[in-house]
Symmetry: C2
Subunit: 164 residues, 2 copies
């Protein structure tokens, strides 16, 4: 089962498989030299003992450096109506300018989207570098639940919802 | 931001937040002394360089020992119509008996659900133990795409779909 570089066909099929994987969209925020945040689909629960989540963050984005520096981050689960946040936090805008879109409260562990389905404050309690990304484990320290429960989903390269 | 044990209210809110997080349901399989598999909602893509996924596996389940022993696993993304597989692979059944439900092909890296939305063969290429779980990084070696594209989702403690 030792493998050389993956062939192109397998890589293409993997991209297709990952497009089919439906995920909740989150903005992971952290406070570095300034508040920063990045859109992702990898945020998920890790375990309840201790209560924890994991996120996979590209090593090139500013949120990665901010989490490394502060040891803190926040996972904001987007609501189905948060579509306006997708472009600003997917690299189309940089820096503090992004936080003028949507309603944000600037906490020590990262910006909190005040009408998120849930906003989860975390202490970075472990990490694993792999390829272009780092997996950060977040031990949960704070949870703010929103009034609305339906998360914004991502599949096939576009947003989706379960409550349509 | 040093924290003691999480208070009960925060833990309750965290459970609610995680119930709201919508995820694709996967069966992660591996070949230990016998074929084994476990249902999970944490399987997600990690990065494209190299093509890789991550899964978080409870250290008490047989699939955990099988992955540790073989260094291989397979992620089968369930289709929206695979509801009959949920109970057998969530602990209600043990051992090889489970694989009599659904259509399986027994590969070296783990059982492949032949009509999965996608089945992704992996070499375990890194791991991180945390609390009750281990995060396994899987470097992708093989991808089989199914004809049907809509994955089975999990939210609020029950299955859901985007194509309803």
């Amino acid at each position: 089962m030792e493998t050389a570089a993956m062939d192109t066909l397998t890589e293409t099929k993997f991209r297709t498989a990952m497009r089919r994987l439906t995920s909740t969209i989150a903005i992971v925020s952290a406070r570095g030299e300034e508040d920063t945040g990045v859109l992702m689909t990898s945020a998920t629960s890790l375990c309840m003992d201790p209560p924890s989540v994991l996120v996979a963050v590209n090593q090139k984005v500013s949120a990665h450096a901010a989490i490394k520096a502060s040891g803190l981050f926040r996972v904001n689960l987007l609501h189905a109506d948060h579509i306006a946040l997708l472009e600003p936090f997917s690299g189309k805008m940089k820096g503090a300018e992004r936080f003028q879109i949507g309603s944000w409260s600037f906490e020590a562990d990262g910006a909190r989207l005040t009408d998120a389905v849930a906003s989860i404050g975390c202490v970075a309690d472990g990490s694993l570098d792999y390829g272009s990304h780092t997996i950060f484990v977040g031990r949960v320290t704070d949870v703010v639940l929103g009034d609305l429960e339906h998360t914004l989903l991502w599949r096939e390269g576009q947003s989706a919802r379960t409550d349509a």
